[in-house]
Amino acid sequence: MADEREDAALWLEATTGTDRSFAVLFDRYRARVFRKAYAQLKSTHDAEDVVAMVFLEAWKNRARVRIVDGSMLPWLLSITSYVLLNHTRSSRRWRRLIASLPEPEEHADHADIVLDRLDQSAQLRAVYEAISALASQERTIIDLCVIEELPVATVAAVLDIPVGTVKSKLHRARAKIRRRIPSHLMPGARSEITALLDGAPQ
């Protein structure tokens, strides 16, 4: 039976020594974190490692937790964004624990096949590449606002900065990304991504 307790209550229990509560939070959000990681890494094994690193980073930074509207998800997504953008550093930090996880089962990773089927995936990859050239905070803001489609107010709460700052940085980051994405990936017809990059209302 799913644990119905709120994130804040579970987190409080976890930080005071109840390891089971941390496991409940892990099971509640691991799939979402995994899918975000997988979309970018296109490898089940690597995405699973990222899931482990995200929750280890969350535990390490537990004093700075941000629960927005009763949910830890926006904060976990911001950590996921950080881990993905600093993959090498995070892998080094948690190397010993990651190495202790069992080896992945041998199976064909069909990510490329699936993603290549979608025009949108090419656009997404181009967006990810353009994002990687942005400044750290701009990268996180564009990731959370554009890719994750979180409300600006939520992102401001997670990053602990004013809403106006998020809006202005988002505006600048959008402009930079649009300049960096090849024109053939941004067709005239408005796709979902181009609409978001153009600042469609959230």
Partner: protein
Amino acid sequence: MTPLYDNDDMPEMTDKRTDAIRETLMDQVRTENDRRRHTLRRRFTLWGGIGLLVIGGVATAATAIVQAQRVTNSDIVYCFATAQRGADGQFDYAAATLHDPASNQGSVSKPIAVCQDMWHRGALDKNTDQLEPTPSPHAIPAHLQVCVMDDGSPAVVPGRPGICQAIGLAPER
């Protein structure tokens, strides 16, 4: 709130690694809390030990400073005018001795009596006119204590018992 990248074709996490990650995280929470308790205990022990050492050191130093001593030099007595140091950090005092015809040296066997006499004569009152032909008697403090100077000579200080330690001198044993 479904992100753009999400689609039904995405694989799931494998059960084996999911269980391993969950176990690793729970282990991390457990060991972290154990480590924190251990750190707190160690910190408490360390600072407790340091605190005890400091208290012991201060007590030892205080005992060394204020430990009662015997008067070993009776050649002279220092009669303190007050128990407070002056602006120059020195005590205001008058020294006195009595001639001992037997040894032909100064000798003070009753320091309080000598200083009471000094007080009575006004020797410790700055306002006393030392050239006055018939000096009027001056008040003698109700409480005088014998302390011991570094050289073993007595110092008579106005004040209640404990005044010697308060001004950093050893009380007379």
